[in-house]
């Protein structure tokens, strides 16, 4: 399955913010906005909901924490108790450093992995590359809601908001 997506190219941060807002307010569906660097205020302009990635991070951190504590408890209290300097087998302070490290490790790796999967950035994933958005152009991609003819109106709108070029691209949906 593939659908045509309309790309509008802009040459400044201010114009792309303005046009993004206009496109969204006119009722078009924003496929995405591509910029060479993080543009402040773009999240608001696109009307993005707060990222759900934080929950992945929190959950993975909690999992890492629980696993680390359980593993240490199991190995040093249940499976193979060792007397270390007369300390109790279940020595909570000694477990903390490993627990901390594993919490951070799980949270960090899971967050990066979840981001890559969600953004479909993995080997074998074919994504079209927009020319110049890694250099000096800002691009707005508009997906049609129903009829592809609707995109003509969107093209007009973006032109009026300062698009320097427009293009139609087939992308995998």
């Amino acid at each position: 399955m593939s659908a045509p997506v309309l790309i509008g190219y802009f040459d400044s941060e201010a114009r792309v913010l303005d046009a993004t807002r206009a496109v969204r307010e006119a009722g078009f569906v924003l496929h995405d906005v591509y910029t060479p660097y993080a543009v402040h205020g773009l999240d608001d302009a696109m009307g993005l909901r707060p990222s759900r990635l934080t929950w992945v991070c929190f959950g993975a951190g909690l999992l890492g924490c629980t696993l680390a504590l359980s593993l240490q408890y199991y190995t040093s209290v249940v499976s193979w108790p060792l007397n270390v300097g007369g300390k109790p087998f279940n020595s909570f302070p000694a477990f903390i450093p490993v627990t901390f490290e594993l919490t951070v490790l799980f949270a960090a790796l899971a967050t990066v992995a979840a981001f890559l999967v969600r953004a479909k950035l993995f080997p074998g994933s074919r994504r079209p590359v927009l020319p110049r958005v890694t250099d000096d152009r800002f691009a707005i991609a508009v997906a049609p809601r129903e009829a592809p003819s609707e995109l003509d109106a969107a093209e007009d709108l973006m032109r009026r908001h300062g698009a320097v070029a427009t293009d139609l691209l087939e992308v995998a949906s």
Binding site: H40, G85, P93, A94
Partner: protein, 397 residues
């Protein structure tokens, strides 16, 4: 640049606190410090520990203001400029705070075990440390430390005021140079202060991370006090330029320094617990018995566990009312932390927080408020001569 235009054409006047607040602060300072002085006659040790705990607490807030400024200057940071008059006003308390610490000097022999008459002769361990732990050298170190702090806070303030008058970008470079020197000297003198004034209360015990651990407490409490001051001034209409992004960054620093504190607190505890050497564990044994144990665990909850959870979500760091609550928790925690450093060695029986502790804290807090509001009144709230002001006005995270 309409925002900048508004700022630069605003009347060059400071913020006047309501007279009722000023009056209340004067009364509380008078009553609190009066009770403390009376306490010197009635219950000398209680009054002295209260003077040390609260005196050091607020001196750290003042000093922390200067350290925050210096850190921002050397990092060429531009986001904080809009509210930099707040840390500057805090720093203006340093001379006052220095006096509260100097007030301890006549009573060294009533407070510090190593200075008590006859102790040096009978205690072999302390006798070995006599070259360092003696009253003249202690007083000299205190003098040098306080002089460095007063001198550098005065210099930083003077450059900032000259910026307003001269609007010369070269002064920003001078800020960086003075700050770099100050940060090095601060690190050395603050270690000395923490070891001398606090750690020698239990002169047999030692911990090399102790100063660093205090450093984290200083940064955490300063960021909290600055956040409270910024929000209150914003609500009073004195700092309309403060936006959600500034608060967000203050919230992040609060979160980060609370975690740094926990990291260092635990580093000290873990190493002593692991090694299990009697001369080191004695410190924690006192603090883990009787009512001290409650305070010991409450310390970790107030200074780290609660703030960590409460500041974790992004919206939490952008909500002024929420930040006020968390900052208050951390500031109570900081007092408890210092109380736990000062008192258990001298009063191992248990927690005793009463009229003297309260009077010391309230009196010193009122004194701090007076110093800060006096400085805030004398200069315009927004530093119009700072070249980073535009960046700060447009700060966006």
């Amino acid at each position: 640049m309409s925002a900048l235009h508004e700022v630069t054409t605003a009347p060059a006047a400071g913020f006047e606190v309501p007279p009722a607040v000023h009056r209340a602060a004067q009364v509380l300072a008078g009553v609190g410090l009066g009770i403390l002085v009376a306490g010197l006659a009635i219950a000398r040790e209680r009054a002295l520990t209260s003077l040390l705990t609260s005196g050091f607490y607020f001196l750290c807030l003042g000093l922390g203001g200067a350290v925050f400024l210096a850190l921002m200057y050397v990092a060429n940071a531009g986001w904080f400029t809009v509210f930099k008059r707040i840390p500057e006003a805090f720093a203006a308390y340093v001379p006052w705070g220095a006096v509260t610490i100097l007030a301890l000097l006549p009573f060294v022999s009533s407070l510090y075990p190593w200075a008590k008459p006859g102790v040096m002769e009978t205690d072999h361990l302390l006798h070995e440390k006599a070259a360092f732990l003696n009253v003249p050298f202690f007083a000299a170190r205190m003098g040098v430390v306080l002089a460095v702090w007063v001198g550098f806070t005065w210099m930083l303030r003077r450059i900032s005021l000259r910026q307003d008058a001269e609007r010369s970008p070269e002064l920003a470079g001078r800020n960086v140079k003075v700050s770099a020197v100050f940060l090095v000297l601060f690190a050395l003198t603050f270690c000395l202060a923490a070891f001398d004034w606090l750690m020698t209360l239990e002169p047999h015990w030692f911990s090399t991370i102790y100063a660093l651990y205090n450093f984290a407490g200083l940064l955490s409490s300063t960021v909290c006090a600055m956040t409270i001051a910024a929000i209150l001034l914003h609500r009073a209409g004195a700092l309309p330029q403060l936006n959600t992004s500034h608060l967000h960054d203050l919230g992040k620093l609060m979160f980060a320094f609370a975690t740094l504190w926990a990291y260092l607190w635990f580093s000290q505890y873990l190493l002593i617990w692991y090694a299990n050497i009697p001369e080191e564990t004695v410190y924690f044994i006192t603090r883990l018995h009787g009512t001290w144990a409650v305070a010991f665990y409450a310390n970790v909850v107030l200074n780290w566990a609660l703030p960590f959870v409460l500041l974790l979500p992004r919206p939490a760091k952008r909500n002024p009312s929420h930040l006020l609550r968390v900052a208050a928790i951390l500031l109570v925690g900081r007092w408890l932390d210092l109380y736990l450093m000062v008192v258990p060695g001298l009063q191992p029986d248990g927690v005793a927080v009463g009229v003297f502790e309260l009077a010391g804290f309230v009196g010193m807090a009122a004194l701090f408020t007076l110093a800060v509001t006096r400085t805030v009144r004398s200069t315009p709230m927004v530093p119009v001569g700072d070249p980073y002001l535009v960046e700060s006005l447009h700060h966006h995270t």
